[in-house]
């Protein structure tokens, strides 16, 4: 018995020494350290979201660099530089929650930037709420994030029920322009049975109700979807004015392929996940005419004093990070989140978290990423989802018309392409 006790006593001593050591090292990350304001984030640098996590982090870092280069943030007459403390949450929500506890309790972080993905943000929010620490997130779009009554969470991006709502609005606009009533529009819907796609569906249904449109098809796609020909046969029989599909990359791939294979002409076709499904590369001309929602596009005419226009941001990002061909929207969102924090510090003129929360809640900010204004649930209510149409293999912004760089090609013909392209 004795030696065993001795050993465990030693282990206890070593453990305590480590704990004390960690605690002693903690002040390195205080909330404000000299002339530095330190933000904290647990982000996915390994695991299934490692690429998206890196995109988001590069966005955070670029904004920090630009704000510091332009003179930092002035709070109560003193100039501060921004800095971010990162941990890798390995793409797992449980780890995100742990790391946020650590950032707040051990490292003394008082200002949080969100993780990547809805799942990890869902795990992070209860922690920041518990400690009343404000968090600006830019990478969690799920509708369920904004129905929990969180007070300290603010999101820069549009929520998932907005993804295809703008496509319905566009269909109404087109109908009116062509001398029909918006309520005459018949919509065919196919949505996967998963939280994200059902959010998208809820947004579509809400928007359809607003215009009094009817759904002629309302199919739910299974998780291991590989065939939609039965649904497409219904589309062929019922001739809807619009087809909306959301089922991640498999939904976009399967619907894109079979719509063309079966030579079905639907005037308006909108899918989520066109970019990640690589539709243009897979189907070439067959991808033309499809509408795809996006959080942000570099051709938009949004502007701010730090980055300039959306296209300036695009150029700067590509110059700074050589390993990218195009700017992922996750990065743009991340940069926007940092801009929101900088704006809040400036307006609050102090570091009290309660005051900062209230200041964040009253944000009304124009950025290169879009306008930022938070609703009572903390979601951004000022920025619409942008719709891009694939036109001759390129993604061009066609709606909302205020920000559009190109005209909508209408109607989409069987096999891809539109009337306009055919007559050329």
């Amino acid at each position: 018995m004795r030696p065993l006790f001795k050993r465990s006593a030693m282990a206890l001593a070593v453990g305590m020494a480590i704990t004390v050591g960690t605690l002693a090292g903690a002040p390195a990350y205080a909330k404000v350290d000299g002339d530095k304001i330190i933000l904290g984030s647990a982000i996915s640098l390994t695991g299934k979201y490692s690429q998206e996590g890196k995109n988001a982090r590069d966005g955070y870092d670029l904004a920090v660099k630009m704000i510091n280069d332009k003179g930092g943030v002035t709070v109560a007459g003193k100039v501060y530089k921004l800095e971010i403390a990162y941990y890798d949450d390995e793409s797992t929500p449980a780890r995100t929650a742990q790391l946020l506890e650590r950032l707040i309790n051990q490292d003394g972080i008082k200002y949080v930037l969100g993780p990547y993905s809805s799942g990890t943000t869902k795990a992070a929010a209860p922690v920041t709420e518990k400690y009343k620490i404000p968090m600006v997130e830019a990478e969690g779009a799920s509708r369920s994030l904004f129905s929990q009554g969180y007070r300290y969470m603010f999101a820069a991006l549009s929520t998932s029920e907005q993804y295809l709502a703008s496509a319905i609005a566009l269909a109404a606009e087109v109908a009116v322009k062509n001398g029909k009533k918006a309520s005459d529009v018949k919509v065919a819907m196919a949505f996967e049975n998963d939280p994200f796609s059902l959010d998208v569906r809820a947004g579509v249904l809400e928007e359809m109700k607003k215009f009094g449109m009817t759904a002629v098809i309302d199919d739910k796609l299974p998780r291991d979807l590989s065939d939609m020909t039965a649904t497409m046969t219904k589309v062929k029989a019922l001739k809807p004015d619009m087809l909306v599909v959301s089922g991640h990359t498999k939904g976009a791939t399967t619907a894109g392929r079979q719509l063309n294979e079966m030579n079905i002409a639907v005037p308006l076709v909108a899918f989520t996940h066109c970019e990640s499904a690589d539709l243009v590369d897979k189907f070439k001309k067959g991808a033309d005419g499809i509408l795809c929602p996006t959080q942000w596009a570099e051709t938009l005419s949004y502007k701010d004093p730090v980055f300039g226009s959306a296209s300036d941001y695009n150029a700067l990002f590509l110059k700074t990070y050589k390993d990218y061909d195009t700017v992922p929207y996750q990065a743009a969102q991340g940069s926007a989140a940092v801009l929101i924090w900088a704006d809040a510090f400036k307006r609050a003129q102090g570091f009290d978290t309660e005051k900062l929360r209230d200041t964040l809640a009253s944000t009304d900010l124009e950025t290169f990423y879009g306008h930022i204004k938070f609703g009572p649930a903390g979601n951004n209510i000022a920025k619409p989802m942008v719709l891009r149409q694939i036109q001759a293999g390129k993604y061009n912004v066609v709606a909302p018309s205020k920000w559009a760089s190109h005209k909508l090609d209408y109607p989409r013909m069987a096999g891809g392409g539109t009337m306009k392209q055919a007559s050329k």
Partner: protein, 300 residues
Amino acid sequence: MWDNIQILVAAPVFNVQLLLNGLLIGAVFGLAAYGLALVWGVTNVKNLAQGDFVMFGGYLGYELSKHGLHPIFALIPVAAVMYVFGWIVYKLVVSRVIQRELFTSLLATFGLAIVMQQSMNLLFGPEVRTVESGFKTRELFDGLVTVTDIRMISFVLCGLLALALVLFMKKSRMGQAIRATAQDARAARVMGVDTERVYAFTFSLNAAICGVAGVLISMIWVLQPFYGIAYSVRAFVIVTAAGLGNLPGVIVMALGLGAIEQYSGFVLGAQFQQATVVGLLLIALIWRRLLLQRHRQALQ
């Protein structure tokens, strides 16, 4: 649901579309099911990794087509590689469980399925992949019905392959040995058949057949590392309903299953398309049981 049935009644031409799509894809299900029946009948191993063999074959075809080979020509090298792969799997896993009771071999092939899914996920990534055959779509009935050439070609290829397999089983020495082993392995051994070789060959042949089915699937539907299970279930439904060693039964059930899937997708919605398959498995099992009961009663 009723409005969808009304469409079919009012415009019967859409029945043709559903039947065509269903029968043509059903032929590919039939290939995988025939392979399953072969292994089941000869070695008494119920291969739960059947669908994952199909996916793996599809991915091999996808890789070859990325290097410029037309996917139709990829069928032969993929079948060859899958044959070797099947042989290795047999030697490593299946040969060790073949004499054990049912549960051991089920567990072993279930484990094999998990290993294959995860390996494909690591090798090829979780994204959905497709292979473009580049073939045209044909229109019938003023464009109301369409059929893609690749589906027709794959249907014909499945038919030819089935014919070749039947001839092989009837005429060749190996085919006769396989049939002898399936009937009574001990008697076959006594007669000088190297049953171990027969088992290895059967399992490898099955892998090659699955490889062909996979390449065809990659051109008609999509590939994804975790979609194999759907094909395993289909193969089990077909074989359970048709019975072992009943090739015409397998063909009829496979084509029928393809068509039923399309009809349930049309009438009940896409969410029920695959659920129907599982429902059918239940019905097939109950039906089999009832048949067996009648059989026993007849014996008494």
